[in-house]
């Protein structure tokens, strides 16, 4: 690579890096500043510097560990579901299918709907144990309907979020599959590989990088899932569906405790960084070419 290329490379990169830097630094700076104050929006003028007290308060909240656990369970489960199913669906749609465009649109459609609306549709029209469609189906088979949000609230939320994000994974993987060289697949077949080995040794490595990208992007979004929980369970019952984002909301934002909300935000950033560090360790190799 020439020095010229490298120079131009840096130039082309600078707008993105510059803008994101300002976008990161200014709110981050303000958040760190607020997190060191005892600042309640409803009692302005009484701000005082309290150092790390907001952090201790947030971290010693009995709900903190539970919400951390819920966050990790939520993110992990949705990742597994979306990538696992997403790969399968992408493979299916990569085949010749009559009316493929329509099926593709149907598969992507869940991503079009606003998260609050999907959550409401799932909660009231589908999962409601008295008048939801799933309850009706269960009763037709003589089973008692599951009270989703009382018995398995976190699972219910996971299912809703996974349904919303499946199109994202599917679309990225499908697009990546399109670029898979047909010749490589045919060569493998001629060498006597069956469908399964062809998948494992030819397709999967090709998908390694897109899957990594999906994992990293989805993780970033899933860590801050909020709307679905707010609309369906309100964090309950108990703490069953409270994640870190919801904890920040219910402990701080809802009573306009800007100090603790900012401290909570910083804690969330630290957790996300730790998580990303481990993820990159595991799958980061795929980012290089």
């Amino acid at each position: 690579m020439t020095e010229e290329t490298r120079g131009i490379g840096r130039l082309l990169l600078s707008p993105a890096v510059g803008l994101l830097f300002i976008w990161m630094i200014v709110p981050l700076g303000m958040t760190i500043y607020f997190s060191s104050l005892h600042y309640n929006l409803l009692n302005p003028g009484t701000e005082q510097f309290v150092g790390l007290e907001n952090y201790t308060y947030f971290l010693t909240d009995p709900a903190f560990l539970a919400s951390l656990r819920n966050t990790l369970v939520l993110v992990g489960s949705v990742l597994v579901l979306t990538i696992g199913l997403g790969t399968l669906v992408a493979l299916l749609l990569d085949q010749a299918v009559v009316g493929r465009s329509i099926v593709r649109l149907m598969v992507i459609a869940p991503f079009f709907v606003m998260p609050t609306v999907s959550a409401l549709v799932w909660k009231n029209l589908l999962m409601h144990p008295v008048s939801g469609l799933l309850a009706y189906v269960a009763k037709s088979f003589g089973l008692t309907p599951i009270d989703w949000f009382a018995e398995v609230p976190l699972l219910a939320v996971i299912l809703i979020v996974a349904w919303q994000w499946l199109p994202f994974a599917t679309l990225i993987l499908l697009t990546a599959l399109q670029s898979l060289d047909e010749e490589q697949k045919e060569a493998a077949e001629m060498d006597g590989a069956n469908a399964l080995s062809s998948f494992v040794y030819v397709t999967l490595p090709h998908l390694a990088r897109p899957i990594t990208v999906v994992i990293l992007i989805e993780t970033i979004f899933l860590l801050t899932v909020f709307a679905e929980i707010f609309v369906t369970t309100g964090g309950g019952p108990g703490l069953a569906t409270t994640n870190i984002a919801f904890l920040i909301y219910s402990q701080a934002l809802i009573q306009y405790d800007v100090g603790t909300a900012s401290a909570g935000g910083m804690v969330a950033v630290v957790i996300a960084n730790i998580l990303a560090f481990f993820l990159v360790r595991i799958v980061g190799r795929n980012l290089e070419a």
Binding site: L92, L105, V113, V117, L125, P167, T175, I217
Partner: protein, 276 residues
């Protein structure tokens, strides 16, 4: 491409794909059906699938109550504008990282992603105060700014992934033919990256279209997009599911059209065979 598909294979593929597609699509179908039912009907047990009194009253109510076109136009401007600007900034950045990588490339990529790690609820106050100070509350440019910078890391990442797919030898061949980097970008890279650019554009427009936290908090009426329109149908006292379904169907409609058209781009695979 020379694979012959047997009719049996085609049938199996088609049936399987349609079943999967319908299962995934079903909740949305249910929602659209609900939008044509009366409120009482929408919540009735046993639920009625196709045989009920179809009515347009929900659409009439929604259209009469809120200004759909105003909000839709705002959504188009905000989602489209923020994504296009993000693409303009991201394409050169992604190119640079894919074809002129340095030791720092991976770190920069990860750093970009880390700018999205702060949960919006934690940073609402600082941003609101900033926007208030600069008079950007309830402005289209304010919304475009926050959504553009919010999605920029995602756009960069996705483009980076697709650019990496493109074999370097083709680009080198073009350069050896004397093309400058500019020409290389426009005439060689872009056509090959079209499916990738199309799917990046589609996904990010959708992310911006459905973004409900910043758009609800930073806009009031002048710049309010469809997310605010829908929020006004969400969970008032009284039955609302049919109306919410109608409002939501109206909100998805433009995206569905966009999705349908951008599909054509996704179909075209990279034609390496032809180039070789």
């Amino acid at each position: 491409m020379g694979r012959r598909i047997t009719p049996v294979r085609l049938l199996i593929n088609t049936v399987a794909a349609w079943i999967v597609g319908l299962m995934i699509f079903f909740p949305i179908l249910w929602m659209v059906l609900a939008s044509f039912k009366t409120e009482l009907e929408a919540f009735a047990t046993p639920p009625s699938f196709l045989f009920f009194d179809w009515t347009l009253e929900n659409y009439a109510t929604v259209q009469g109550r809120s200004d759909y076109l105003h909000h839709a136009l705002n959504s188009v401007i905000v989602a489209g504008g923020s994504t296009l600007i993000a693409m303009l900034i991201a394409v050169p950045a992604a190119w640079s990282m894919a074809f002129a990588p340095s030791k720092r490339t991976k770190d920069i990529l990860l750093w970009m992603l880390s700018t999205k790690m702060m949960p919006p609820v934690g940073v609402l106050m600082p941003i609101y105060l900033l926007y208030r100070t600069f008079g950007m509350l309830d402005t289209l440019s304010g919304l475009i700014l926050v959504l553009c910078l919010g999605n920029l890391p995602i756009v960069v990442w996705m483009l980076f992934t697709y650019f990496k797919e493109i074999p370097k030898d083709i680009l080198e061949a073009a350069r050896m033919d004397g093309a400058t980097i500019g020409r290389e970008l426009i005439y060689v890279l872009t056509p090959m990256a079209v499916p990738g650019i199309a799917s990046t554009l589609l996904l990010n427009v959708i992310l911006a279209w459905n973004e409900a936290f910043w758009t609800l908090n930073l806009s009031t009426s002048a710049a309010a997009p469809l997310t605010v329109f829908i929020a006004s149908y969400s969970s008032p006292e009284g039955l609302f599911w049919a109306k919410l379904s109608a409002a939501s169907t109206m909100a998805i409609a433009p995206i569905l059209v966009l999705g349908w058209f951008s599909q054509r781009q996704l179909v075209r695979g990279l034609t390496f065979g032809a180039v070789k």
